[in-house]
């Protein structure tokens, strides 16, 4: 398939069977190559890859807390600069959705504002999966989690998902993109572009989670494909302030094709599915309306 054969993450890691997050990281590292340093926030990726005294990483890897991933990456960025080897090294900050959307958002925002240079990858599995499926800022509308349980009072999470890529783009960074494991050529192209950026670049990765989303482990790729086909997770990039779709389905499938594959949405009524459909459509139409326009251009430094 023309993908690099070298692996930078080893077998024997403790991720669940069919993990979408490890698969994403595997390909991001392949695209980034061996001269890479990874800063990894607490979360699934950290816990499953480093059961002390073992590690699955074959490249330098630093563990940080939820809240300071971007701050640690900023320090490494400056450290490498002082040693005069910054240009030779790709610096990746990998955080889950808890670390990126909620807890570590402040340090991410700060690092962007200070103009550091690294690539931030938010591996989004839409809840705190590592600690047992608690809702996060990334959990979509009406998803059933342990802290937004579907019952008589509420039908899953009552708030919609935070639009993090757009929030990051509003900081005026030069490269923001969404990536999905269902589309590897697109993923490789975007990671390569992100690594070339002179300031913080941001990638939002869609990572289906088998135990959290409650679907059979073999459907990981299919769910990611459906998410793009239904418009739930559109693939786009914002380069120098201009938004472009990199994959545009000719016609969006009904969102129910995506929802019905997952146990976390099985409690939904028809009217709730319609609400989600409207919500997804509105968001998608918004992105279409700003495509190719200079919407983020004025914010871009």
């Amino acid at each position: 398939m023309g993908l690099p054969r070298e692996e930078y993450i080893a077998s024997g890691h403790r991720a669940c069977a069919g993990c979408g997050e490890i698969l994403t990281i595997r390909h991001v590292l392949k695209a980034s190559g061996k001269n890479t340093i990874v800063v990894n926030a607490t979360g699934c990726a950290e816990v499953v890859t480093t059961p002390y005294p073992q590690t699955a990483w074959k490249i330098p890897w630093v563990h940080s807390a939820f809240e300071n991933i971007a701050a640690v990456a900023s320090g490494i960025d400056k450290g490498l600069e002082c040693r005069g080897i910054r240009d030779k090294i790709n610096l990746l900050a990998i955080g889950g959705d808890g670390a990126s959307f909620d807890i570590g958002f402040g340090s991410l925002s700060g690092a962007i504002e200070r103009g550091h240079k690294f690539t931030y990858i938010a591996t989004d599995n839409e809840a705190y999966m590592n600690t047992g499926i608690q809702r996060s800022g990334a959990t979509p509308l009406f998803a059933n989690t342990t802290t937004s349980p579907a019952g008589k009072k509420i039908h899953g999470k009552i708030e919609p998902k935070k639009p993090l890529p757009l929030i990051v783009a509003a900081h005026g960074v030069s490269y923001v993109a969404t990536i999905s494991i269902a589309d590897l050529p697109d993923l490789y192209a975007k990671v390569k572009k992100a690594l070339k950026a002179e300031v913080v670049s941001f990638l939002h990765a869609f990572c289906p989670c088998v135990p959290g989303w409650k679907y059979p482990s073999s459907k990981t790729i299919e769910i990611a494909k459906k998410a793009t086909a239904t418009g739930v997770f559109p693939l786009y990039e914002i380069e120098n302030g201009i938004l472009k779709f990199t994959r545009k389905p000719a016609k969006l499938e009904p969102v129910n094709n995506y929802l019905k594959m997952q146990g976390r949405f099985k409690h939904l009524s028809q009217s709730e599915i319609r609400q989600i459909q409207n919500y997804v459509k509105e968001r998608y139409n918004f992105l279409l309306s700003v495509e190719n326009s200079k919407c983020f251009d004025t914010l871009f430094k």
């Binding site: 398939m1 403790r14 074959k58």
Partner: protein
């Protein structure tokens, strides 16, 4: 955990990729089996394995059962349906 294990300074792990010592193959309830008569060697299964348990040996893709957790992504997405999931029996 081994009682005699010494904790390194800063919990530094000095051996990269050392999780290979832990065989995750025992997690499996279904094992993927490739039918090489049907296989077109496209490598899609290799690219979609979250456990890096499919390796290219010569011009063949071979499953490493030491690490395969039996998720079934490879069998689900094989374009020519050359991979079957077979129940593990003792």
């Amino acid at each position: 955990m081994n009682k005699k294990m010494k904790i390194t300074k800063g919990a530094v792990i000095k051996e990269p990729g050392s999780t290979v010592k832990y065989k995750t193959g025992s997690w499996r309830t279904f094992r993927p089996v490739i039918d090489y008569e049907k296989c077109i060697r496209c490598g899609l299964c290799w690219s979609q394995c979250p456990d890096m348990a499919i390796e290219k040996k010569g011009n063949k893709f071979v499953i490493n059962y030491d690490y395969c957790k039996g998720c079934g992504i490879c069998a689900e997405n094989c374009p020519v349906k050359a991979i079957k999931m077979v129940r593990e029996e003792k």
